[in-house]
Amino acid sequence: MNVIQVDGLSKSYGTGSTKVNALHQVSFGVNQGEFVAVVGASGSGKSTLLHMLGGLDKPTDGYVHIDGENLYALKEKDRAVFRRRKIGFIFQAYNLIPVLNVEENIQLPLLLDHRQPDKAYVDDLIRTLGLHERRKHLPSELSGGQQQRVAIGRALAYRPAIVLADEPTGNLDSANGREVIELLKLAVRQYHQTVIVITHDMNVAAEADRVLNLQDGMLLNDTHSRGKAL
């Protein structure tokens, strides 16, 4: 079963002569547990695509089905709940809450849903992320790599079916960037998550099971870079 199914997705901004097609008739499906990289020049529609997948922005045309649910047929309010429970986001700029410490930032999606975070699980997660000694620190007291690891923790806390990452390594040096990608790969394996990473770093793309190449808002090619190893 495809966990993500995109059909004829289009997005345009403006009208008439100022109309810009950010995405044009993009269709593809992603299997559960796949690690997919989306590459393309800036302005190719990568981020627009990610926003559509995450239910952050309405498409002009076409459908996004996630877990069999037509994302844009849901009511705005239901979509917000859906997003919180099914999708984890990781951004280039980390987007942590500055007044919450590491632990609180990681537990945020659970608290928003009025769930009691499991202490042991969150603790384990924080240790894996190498943040144990910093768990009471505020984001401003952390390095970029550490902040991005907190963001990964936040995306994994709910173990959502899908993790969407927008240039997660964009602000990091190669060592920290590699760590972020490896953590995402571990998550794919451990939690059967589906990860979609937007990147222009070819080293990141090389780590993916599959690479979607966007150009001028259109899907140029779809390469399965590695066979599913046993």
């Binding site: 649910e69 769930r115 699980y121 894996t128 190498g130 790599g145 451990q190 190893a229």
Partner: protein
Amino acid sequence: MERIDRSLPDAGRMWRNPSLRRLAATLGLVLALAIAFIVWYGYDSAEKLKKEWLDKEAAALGNMAETHPEWAEAWLKRLTDNKDISPDDIAKGREFMERYGMTEEIAADWLPALGEYRSRTFWTLIGAALLLASLAAWLMFREYRRQLSDIRKLALAMEDTVKHNRPMSFRMYAEGELGLLANSAQELSMRLRQTNEQLQQDQTFLKDTVADISHQLKTPLASLMIYIDLLREGNVDPEHTAEFLETCRHELDRMEWLTLTMLKLARLEANALELNIADASLAATVRQALNSIERLAENKQVRIVTDDDGSGREWIIPHDPHWLAEAIGNLLKNAVEHSPHGGLVTIALSTTPVFVRLLIKDEGSGIDARHLPHIFKKFYRTSSAGSGVGLGLPLAKSIVEKHGGILSAASIPSGGSVFSITLPHHKLPAGANASKLTEL
């Protein structure tokens, strides 16, 4: 696992339930209607009463004006005179009225205006109360029906899922308790499907493993049988006999290794084997792996050097030394086999806040991009080089992944290939794969 907040819902949490909000809105609406009605009715009935009272006064005055005009004038003055009414006047008036039987006990019906007012108020208020009550009842009924129909849909969808193993057809992403229930039900159905898929995969895996083993054993068995038949017939000269026996021995060794490795792999992949993961020295484990590969390296004149930042650290990290040594040994074996005569194999250790990395570099010809996606598949062989049957790398991968790590391979642009074992300092906590469900 995180869990749904166990404490009894407080006001804030109750308020997250859409049904409760709608109920509150209903009550608010009914209350507003009631107030509007009371305001309207109070005003309207006062007006009516005033009019009726004026009519009555007018009639009395009219009569009086015909017979005693001066009385009527005085009476009218009294009426519009808003001066305070003295208790004395009231007492005198009452006394006079009582003489004609107009006491407080008199039935209101005897005073036509009052009687009308009473019955009108009575019926209007009853009617209004009934109307409001039925409106409230209808709205609440609708609300309950909505909620019950959601529960019913959920029940039907769950029944469907259980009986036909279909994905949940009814989804709900609302806030509140019902939303949480629906979410849990959906999670349950997904886990059910995953478990089913896993079962099917396990079955396929078992079938494939059996097929693999029998396929891999058939060829050497056949040749063994031929050699033994030849030897049994007895017309082989002693020189050939020795050679045949040597070949038989070699084939048997290979079969032994194959069977053992297949079994290890099968046990690992079928989760029939628990690794004994505890803090241990990775440096010692590497040394253990080196021991197993020493002879092979010597034969090929390949030098193996360990580069550990020159720190001479022990690299304490949670792992199972026995099995990880096996994995590293297999990678080293692969590196040595693919090295040129007199080549160099480098083992490099490094650490980050999250991972420990172990790189094994060789100076061979690297891995063709064509083969790269497949080298960790069982029985996949890139060339006839190397003695393996294509089980060493899959076994290493399986072991590393059991440690919660990643094994990857790449070609070095300057030549040779590099295998990297990435092990977390702390294993990612068990998640969806574990049998534990989200506790309710």
